[in-house]
């Protein structure tokens, strides 16, 4: 079992201290298909839970990535600019999107663990 928490919008969060690393799930990258462009927020930007944070574009379409938690963007994954396919190759590793300094740790309580998320992602609709 991983230490990741998942949102219903298919983002994952890994918490270290008060810094949440955020990306999109394996299921999400599979649904998107080949990722060709990622637009990341500016460092220093304040994001709110469930608000727009980034955009991921596959060959098929552009999709919003929502902030699974509120806080300040402290770092973004610049590697994605040149290698957007990292999102497909390593969605929960090298394909991370951004790091958010949490403003409210209790927001994580409502998120799913990996087993619950896998059930959620596998359910139709």
């Amino acid at each position: 079992m991983s230490d990741l928490k998942f949102s219903k919008e298919h983002e994952w969060v890994r918490l270290e201290g008060d810094i949440a690393t955020v990306g999109i799930s394996h299921f999400a990258q599979e649904q998107l298909g080949d990722v060709v462009f990622v637009e990341l927020p500016d460092v220093g930007k304040q994001v709110v839970k469930d608000g727009d944070a980034a955009v991921v574009e596959s060959v098929k379409a552009a999709s919003e990535v929502y902030a699974p938690v509120s806080g300040e963007i402290v770092e973004v994954n610049g590697e994605l600019e040149d290698d957007p396919e990292l999102v497909n190759k390593s969605p929960t590793g090298e394909g991370w999107f951004m790091k958010i300094r949490l403003s409210d740790a209790s927001e994580l309580d409502g998120m799913m663990d990996e087993a619950a998320y896998n059930d959620f992602a596998a359910s139709p609709g």
Binding site: G33, V36, F37, E57, K60, A62, E81
Partner: protein
């Protein structure tokens, strides 16, 4: 699978759009395009009859040759684009799936007496596209490799009678193969058995045709765009330009003579962000000068590519423009199409 014009269509197979696109450019892919309408037009003079509905030179089409044209309306707009082949004793039309029913009604209402048409409901259509297509097909249909681009020939593979044209929608060499539906799976499997051939879906078909600069009906051309605005004047033969005799001829003739206020152009975004359909195109001062009608990532071009309509003042190659993606103007420039050079087979000479 997605619903498309009443058909269940594969957007992609398991390799994914990017891999299918690249395989088509490197070797060969089969696309199931059986949703396209196939129509046979017969009569005393089917070419003269069809010319009352399209601006293409159909009477001048030699036997075994094909041509791209469009059904126009009274304002010169495009009702559908189509391929017309002179099979010899009849004309063979391939029309868009989404327009099929309207096209049939249009033919029924518009064709002069003495002309009949059959919708070939029991035929399937596959496209075999890519640089390996000629060798693959010639293994089963000797001689198919020396057919010139935009020609047609009957072949027989494994007892099935096929109508083969050297044409396509990818910018690559290749064929469209009309097959009796009862044989379609078998013939597809025979061709697919070749190591060089894979299946490709609608997603790759779209990125390939976009790189090739080819129009998608309902997006890049429709009832509100004329062939002249769309940069398709090349498809209107000299005799037809002079003589007219098709719906909207006066408007189209005037536009050929005087120009149009907007033009379809290629657009290359400077950065990596794709500018998709509906993206506004603005000038340096933020004034809207046009709109993207097709856009996305071009795997062979190696970055985003788009086409759309702009005011004719801005239609010159290399003109800088802005593309408003997610409310942010991003620089780009007008570019020549195709984005990837066509590789059609023009014959041995």
């Amino acid at each position: 699978m997605v619903p498309f014009a009443g058909y269940e269509m594969p957007v992609q197979y398991s390799p994914g759009i990017l891999a299918e696109h690249n395989h088509t450019r490197a070797k060969a892919s089969i696309f199931d395009v059986s949703h396209m309408g196939q129509v046979a037009l017969r009569g005393d003079d089917p070419a003269a009859a069809l010319e009352t509905l399209v601006p293409g030179d159909i009477a001048g089409l030699a036997g075994g040759r094909m041509r791209y044209t469009m059904f126009t309306n009274e304002t010169g707009g495009i009702l559908d684009d189509l391929m017309v082949t002179n099979v010899g004793d009849y004309l063979f039309l391939v029309v868009n799936a989404a327009c099929k029913d309207d096209d049939i009604a249009h033919l029924r209402a518009g064709l002069p007496g003495g002309t009949e048409f059959d919708v070939l409901e029991n035929r399937s259509l596959i496209a075999l596209q890519g640089p390996a297509a000629a060798n693959v097909l010639a293994r089963h249909a000797p001689g198919a490799d020396i057919m010139p681009f935009m020609s047609a020939q009957p072949f027989e593979i494994d007892g099935s009678r096929l109508a083969v044209t050297r044409s396509g929608y990818t910018g690559e060499d290749g064929y469209e193969i009309s097959i009796p539906s009862a044989d379609a799976v078998r013939i597809t499997e025979i061709l697919l058995a070749d190591d060089d051939v894979e299946l490709a879906g609608l997603g790759a078909r779209d990125s390939l045709r976009l790189e090739a600069g080819l129009c998608l009906y309902g997006h890049d051309i429709d009832k509100t765009t004329t062939p002249v605005e769309a940069g398709l004047t090349w498809s209107i033969g000299k005799r037809r330009r002079a003589g007219g005799g098709f719906p909207g001829a006066e408007i189209i003739q005037r536009q050929i003579a005087d120009g149009t206020t907007r033009k379809r152009v290629g657009i290359l975004p400077d950065g990596k962000a794709p500018a998709r359909e509906g993206t506004q195109i603005t000038d340096a001062h933020g004034g809207v000068i046009g709109v993207v009608t097709s856009g996305g990532f071009g795997p062979t071009a190696g970055g985003p590519v788009a086409m759309g309509y702009v005011d004719s003042d801005y239609a010159t190659k290399e003109t800088p423009v802005n593309l408003v993606v997610r409310d942010k103007p991003r620089p780009g420039r007008i570019a020549a199409m195709p984005f990837v050079p066509n590789r059609y087979y023009r014959g041995q000479e």
